[in-house]
Amino acid sequence: MNMVLKAYRRKLDIRNGLVDLSHGAGGRAMGQLIEGIFHKAFDNDWLRAGNDQSAFQVPAGRMVMTTDGYVVSPLFFPGGNIGSLAVHGTINDVAMAGATPLYLSASFIIEEGFPLADLARIAETMGEASREAGVPIVTGDTKVVERGKADGVFISTAGVGVVPPGLDLRSDAARPGDAVIVSGSIGEHGVAVMSKRENLEFEVDIVSDTAALHGLTAAMVGAGGAHLRLMRDPTRGGLAATLNEIANQSKVGFRIDEDGIPMRPEVAAACEFLGLDPLNVANEGKLVAVVAPEGAEAILAAMRNHPLGRDAAIIGHAVSDEHCFVQMETSFGGGRIVDWLSGEQLPRIC
């Protein structure tokens, strides 16, 4: 009797197991890891096809593509983890072009010794985030590096989407007189991550704002696409870096009003405590939009009707300024520059 014996495979011990070098070596163990964790978490037809790439249909319009790397520490923080961040961040980069995000890729660099349970948790969160957003992860890659050569897990993602015909948001499109709108309270992601950082742990009732914003951007495009000049998500470097980037690319200045910037008191208090400027603190579920004055109210109203834009506010205007300064009227009635961050934002001695 001809009988092919099925090779014995030790079950992936997700609860207690650790990632080892064999999980990245291209052999059976790697296949088991990909199947047992990633395919299970991301489950879709494209992945099930088992190719090293995915083929898909795209609608008419201009394609948008983005790529991003995630190296956050700690990996798990209140309101999310590196996985949800990777999905949301990449979707948002596509959405800021006014595009509909369609597909994502995800590449993992995993440090030898990383707990399989944590990897599974990250992958499950990514799967949930991508399903919730309706943007599937259709291809990926896994590498394992020796202990000490990475910090747990690094994730690289790419995203593609399509901009509907007629919409062309450009980073150099801001014009004097345009309104600057933020979609909600700033600084929550940065404070949530810092609150769990080793040697800095503090109790704060703040969770990361990490969220996919393509629903909000679609509502904005629907309410006044013709008046939308540009959108940007103020992630690393915070609101300050984003406004300075736009100012320099568009060759305008900005004047913003400190009192008009939405911020939760807990964020203000935590920043005060740490000696940080909340304008430099990262966000993961907020956007900044520059809008022609005639469209500002309609777009603002549409944002406020969306759950992720409830607290949207006009915080200032673009002005003519050859130096491209972002200036702010302080809550105190004086004026100051809102500058780029120099190096890393470091807590002060006193």
Binding site: N199, E329, S331, G333, P347
Partner: protein
């Protein structure tokens, strides 16, 4: 935010600013030095200059511990950190301060030195406990405010019998520096720096009280108002100084009554006195050698003194000759008077210490206030045209 928002009330600030304008004699000018970088930061960040009349001018003083640390001490810390057995623990402010030839602790870290950024002395103690095979050195820096935590760390190291913890002491004293400025030729003989009064740092006075300022308020006939770091504190202190000058008074007044007393925190002072003693002389960047202006560990605690324990020398090193930090720290020049300011010297490419520390006068002016220079330039251009 309770206890914060009350001191950031713009309406009240404008009211105080109106009082200052009403009281400031238009036929004279008022020059007040805010000694502490915390005040400089508050003035710049909240745009207080915009609220003051033109004849009330603020001069930024040397009160930033990072700014006044000479290059040689940074070089010494870097050489210490590069030793394979050493873990150097430092506050974040010091990471980017340039040493000689563009070196810094940040660059030393990238080159392999074990440098850890800590938020308190207790973090350094914890590292020493957790890693007994390492020699953990705490880079102690700061005015009277940060000295008690260093004293407490030594106390804990003794209590826990930690053989691998020591301190590279750079603690400096405020009154000695103010006295040095008032005795400098610039102020006393040449009259190039006009100082009509001081805003004293409240955090320092929570420890030492207001009493240490009595001597030179009397001796130099300059009013001192000890003030907090919230914008309302600062503007109220300016009003108090204007009133003193108008009245011909030179007293020590306490604006920060919510935390400062005449004699300060005597328990903290006693802890500091247990472990530290006055050093005969210490070099301040910009001020040179200032007698009795710093602390060192007492002889019986020499085993916690990193300089003795590791035979650490402070190499002689000088600033970039074009850098005006020295003059800026003494109030002789303003940041924009320096040729390097905003050209080769910015917070991204700092040449001098005033630009490195976020509390430094140049960094504060660059980060928050440089639009004023541009506005002046533009106005001058229009006037000429």
């Amino acid at each position: 935010m309770k206890y914060i928002d009350e001191y950031r009330d713009g309406r009240l600030a404008k009211d105080i600013a109106r009082q200052i304008t009403a009281l400031a004699d238009p036929d004279r000018s008022y020059h007040f030095m805010e000694f502490c970088g915390g005040h400089t930061h508050a003035i710049s960040r909240y745009g207080l200059e915009d609220l003051l009349p033109a004849n009330v001018r603020m001069i930024h003083g040397p009160g930033c511990p990072v700014c006044v640390l000479p290059i040689g001490r940074i070089d010494a810390a870097i050489s210490l950190a590069m030793r394979p057995e050493i873990t150097l623990c430092t506050y974040g402010d010091l990471m980017r301060v340039p040493g000689s030839e563009g070196s810094s602790l940040l660059k030393a870290k990238a080159a392999g030195a074990d440098i850890r950024m800590v938020y308190s002395t207790l973090d350094a103690i914890r590292i020493a406990e957790q890693e007994p095979q390492r020699e953990v050195v705490f880079f102690a820096i700061g005015f009277e405010t940060t000295t008690p935590p260093t004293a407490m760390a030594i106390k804990m190291a003794i209590a826990r019998d930690l053989p691998n913890f020591s301190v590279f002491c750079n603690h400096v004293l405020t009154p000695a520096a103010i006295q040095n400025i008032l005795e400098s030729p610039d102020v006393r003989k040449l009259g190039t720096v006009k100082i009509d009064g001081f805003i004293g740092p409240a955090h320092v006075s929570t420890v030492i009280g207001t009493e240490p300022y009595e001597f030179f308020a009397e001796e130099f006939r300059k009013p001192v108002v000890v003030a907090g770091f919230e914008p309302l504190d600062v503007i109220q202190a300016i009003l108090m100084l204007v009133k003193q000058v108008n009245d011909g008074r030179h007293e020590v007044e306490n604006q920060y009554i919510r935390a400062v007393t005449i004699f300060g925190n005597e328990k903290a002072q006693a802890e500091v006195a247990t472990y530290f003693e006055l050093k005969e002389s210490f070099e301040w960047r910009g001020l040179g050698q200032v007698p009795y202006s710093a602390l060192r560990l007492r002889a019986q605690y020499a085993r916690f003194d990193a300089e003795k324990r590791f035979d650490l020398e402070t190499p002689a090193a000088s600033d970039n000759p074009a850098c005006e930090c020295g003059a800026i720290l003494r109030g002789v020049k303003r940041p924009a008077d320096c040729k390097l300011f905003g050209t080769v010297c910015t917070p991204d490419t700092p040449m001098g210490s005033c630009m490195v520390s976020s509390e430094g006068a140049c960094a504060a002016h660059w980060t928050y206030g440089r639009f004023r220079e541009k506005a002046k330039e533009a106005n001058a251009g229009r006037a000429v045209a």
